[in-house]
């Protein structure tokens, strides 16, 4: 093992928003109380929507599979608690608007809420007691998806590919979004479990190199992970410059091994795999205890919430109920964001449930957002080029955004709008307050829609 605290590893571009991690970084992961109701969405991942396995009024047990994944690129969903199915209907979804979900009335007396199992792992964890097949099956059956936000089914990522093997695995402990501390707390409190997950992944893919990347504003996490890997050979812990979006997949790869993932393309094309620390922790739990992914750590934070903290939350609990656990919204709260302030999705409907990919709820007040941003006062582009300077993908955001604004989608494509990772740096830095990322996203959606129509 090596711990490399040499800082300065980074990628070109990026911004330095205020970290604001102090609100929750010292708040240990605590159990969220049992909610009255769960809303388990059948689409919490990239890929095919699940098929419900239960009917109305049917009793379900905690950990029971209630949505089956029929396609390869999909992940099953499970009931997080004991209860009775109330209905299967369209539910609010943070990204997709409305999607099918299973509402479960929780058995309050006997909910069987799960406890974190991190204390049952040790640094001497032996991954060889499990076969590759066991590991892959467990990951699939547990419904594990990328918990950093993208939600790509992990079983698909772990599929060994002889022709194009994974040579480097990067474990993403950057957590570059402001405010969020769930991964940080996990690295501090659950380091052995994270290590166990890493060892299991290593067993399946046999990479040449395995690196845990952590931003240099989290020295305690570096230390904890360093201690955890001290007895394991060939696992490196490296420090990365604190800069947003250091935890973006492509940026992490650029910072650590100095290679660019082709656009369009995915890291396996250059023999790299990136996994979030929460995902590897879930893998350990799934393989060792056969526990499906029914709970996750969520940071509830921001100046608009009374008592910020990190919680171990059953998936399906609503955002509103979780905010109530934290003392409710302050009177000056104006934005509830699923995720962090840079890439998170602002929601209007607090009955949105926590999904496998929701790492945080950030509640902002007017002061944090700033007057011009709050009122969305957009002025003319002065072509200052700051958006280009900060774009980690080396795009020309202002050009794309203006093309989209005027409906010139072919120009937007000509300027590689498809390569945009929607990190938000350009909008963050724009002095004219233009929602560049928003325009680019609109352009991408419009082009995708057009392509779909043409193929029909």
């Amino acid at each position: 093992m090596t711990v490399d605290v040499k800082t300065g590893r980074t990628f070109p571009g990026g911004v330095h928003p205020p970290g604001r991690k102090g609100l929750t970084e010292d708040s240990a992961i605590q159990l969220a109380p049992v909610p009255k109701q769960l809303s388990i969405l059948l689409s919490q991942h990239l890929g095919a929507v699940c098929r419900p396995l239960v009917a109305k009024k049917e009793a379900v047990k905690a950990g029971q599979k209630i949505g089956e994944a029929d396609a390869f690129v999909s992940a099953p969903v499970h009931s997080s608690l004991n209860g009775v199915v109330k209905e299967i209907s369209l539910q609010p979804h943070p990204v997709l608007g409305r999607t099918e979900g299973i509402i479960i009335d929780v058995d309050a007396e006997n909910a069987a809420a799960k406890q974190p199992c991190a204390n049952q792992f040790s640094v001497d964890f032996d991954e060889n007691q499990f076969s590759d097949e066991q590991i892959l099956n467990a990951v699939h059956e547990a419904g594990i998806v990328g918990m950093g936000g993208a939600g790509f089914p992990t079983r698909v990522k772990l599929q060994p590919n002889k022709a194009n093997p994974i040579k480097t695995i990067l474990v993403n402990g950057c957590e570059c979004e402001p405010f969020i501390t769930c991964d940080y707390r996990m690295m501090l409190e659950w380091s052995e479990q994270v290590l166990a997950g890493i060892k299991l992944v290593r067993k399946v893919l046999k990479p040449e190199r395995l690196v845990i990347g952590i931003e240099d504003n989290k020295p305690q996490a570096m230390e904890a992970m360093g201690r955890a890997v001290s007895k394991s050979d060939g696992i490196e812990v490296v420090s990365l410059k604190t800069k947003y979006p250091q935890g973006g997949e492509r940026q992490l790869i650029k910072s650590i091994i100095n290679r660019d993932v082709p656009t369009p393309g995915i890291p396996p094309m250059i023999n790299v795999l990136v996994l979030n620390v929460a995902t590897v922790a879930a893998i350990a739990e799934a393989v060792v205890f056969n526990e499906p992914l029914t709970h996750r750590v969520v940071t509830v934070t921001g100046p608009g919430v009374e008592q910020p903290g990190n919680f171990y939350v059953p998936i399906g609990m609503t955002v509103g109920e979780l905010i109530e656990v934290c003392g409710g919204l302050k009177s000056d709260a104006v934005k509830v964001i699923l995720g962090g302030p840079m890439m998170g999705i602002s929601i209007a409907d607090l009955s949105c449930p926590i999904t496998k990919t929701s790492g945080a709820i950030t509640v902002l007040d007017a002061k944090e957002i700033g007057g011009a941003k709050l009122e969305m006062r957009e002025t003319a582009c002065i072509r200052c080029g700051r958006c280009i300077e900060v774009c980690p993908m080396n795009l020309n955001p202002t050009k794309i955004a203006h093309a989209v604004k005027h409906g010139l989608f072919d120009v937007a494509q000509d300027y590689y709008q498809a390569a945009c990772i929607e990190c938000g740096c350009c909008s963050y830095v724009c002095p004219a307050n233009i929602e560049l990322t928003g325009y680019i996203r609109t352009g991408k959606i419009a082009v995708a829609r057009k392509k779909k129509q043409e193929s029909k």
Binding site: P17, P264, C384
Partner: protein, 351 residues
């Protein structure tokens, strides 16, 4: 709070695309930075050219602001004075005017800058040419005599030949660049007595640096402009590419001339600190609206501005060429942008 959306959403909660926070600067703060950076040059103008300089500056700024206000009124557009860009245009125009120009001419130049240079294109961000340079060119075309009458305070020990007495407390004399032009023009004369030696201008380098020579209001003191330029760079209001490219290319071309014939061509350093070179490098060529967007484009643009300026100074008819160089390069900025397309990290594949 209940689940399943039975309760209406809290009233004050808003939704918008990510990101939800932003860096605390705005177009206005960028412009205010430029104004702050111009303060040393304004102070020098006031010190050397007295009260009349301040009247000229105030006139230019005021007429620029009023013109923009009227244009917005006519076009039924929202008031855009809050971005302070009209103030910047007025200031830069004023600082590039000769100190003895009448107030009415300054007003005409300022109105032309804003109305024709900026507002007819659609206001800030849409103009192709640098508004202040548009106004200055218009004045040069209309009132050539006024635009080339250089006065210096009479109390300065001026070593340039006096042309005429213009105002009670000032005299008019040749600028170092005019001297340089004479040296170049006379270099091939048979009659050696009519030769104008270039080292006369070289000997004035210290005066040029501190601003004790004739010239435009804000252009005489290299020192004041350097302070402003460094401030803009430190505040990251401008990027260093354009100033470096302008000054670098100008120095290179100036050096070539100096090496070939040091009697006819002045020291390249004197070129850098004389005339509009520094105000151009830090304040005019760096106008974001009319300069290219990409780093590569900025270098091409800067080299173009520096190169054309020096070609005019060394080979052209005029002693100074900054204004034309900037306008010419403004004209090709869209072209530069088109040919300096960025390649995304990870290669350019089809969308």
């Amino acid at each position: 709070m209940s689940v399943n959306g039975k309760e209406p959403m809290p009233e004050k909660i808003r939704v918008s695309p990510a990101p939800h926070i932003s860096h605390r600067f705005s177009t206005r703060s960028v412009m205010i930075d430029v104004i702050i950076a111009l303060i040393p040059a304004i102070a020098y103008a006031g010190y050397y050219f007295r009260f009349y300089a301040l009247i000229l500056i105030a006139t230019c700024v005021l007429s620029a602001v009023v013109t923009e206000w009227i244009c917005n009124l006519i076009c039924r557009k929202p008031n855009s004075l809050g971005d302070f860009s009209a103030v910047v245009t007025g200031l830069i125009l004023a600082l590039s005017l000769p100190p003895a120009i009448p107030v009415w001419a300054a007003i005409i130049g300022s109105c032309f800058s804003i109305a024709i240079g900026k507002m007819v294109f659609g206001g800030l961000g849409s103009n192709i040419f640098n508004p202040a340079m548009v106004g200055r060119t218009f004045l040069t075309a209309c009132f050539g005599m006024l635009m080339t009458t250089w006065t210096v305070p009479a109390n300065i020990d001026a070593r340039m030949p006096v042309v005429s007495a213009a105002m009670p407390d000032t005299v008019t004399q040749a600028t170092p660049l005019a001297w340089s032009k004479q040296a170049i023009k006379t270099r091939n004369l048979e009659d050696k007595t009519k030769l104008v030696p270039a080292n006369r201008a070289n000997s004035l380098m210290a005066d040029m640096f501190w601003g004790r020579v004739g010239g435009c209001l804000g252009e005489t003191s290299a020192f004041a402009l350097l302070i402003g330029g460094v401030y803009l760079l430190v505040r990251r209001t401008i990027q260093p590419h354009i100033p470096l490219a302008v000054l670098g290319s100008a120095f290179l071309i100036g050096t070539i001339g100096y090496v070939i014939n040091p009697d006819a061509f002045i020291n390249p350093l004197a070129h850098l600190i004389s005339g509009g070179m520094l105000i151009c490098a830090f304040f005019i060529a760096t106008d974001p609206v009319t300069a290219p967007l990409t780093t590569k484009g900025m270098w091409i643009f800067g080299v173009g501005v520096g190169g054309i300026t020096m070609l005019i100074r060394l080979l052209g008819e005029y002693p100074e060429g900054v204004m034309y160089a900037v306008l010419l390069m403004n004209a090709v900025t869209p072209l530069i942008d088109r040919y300096c397309k960025l390649t995304p990290a990870g290669g350019a594949a089809d969308a």
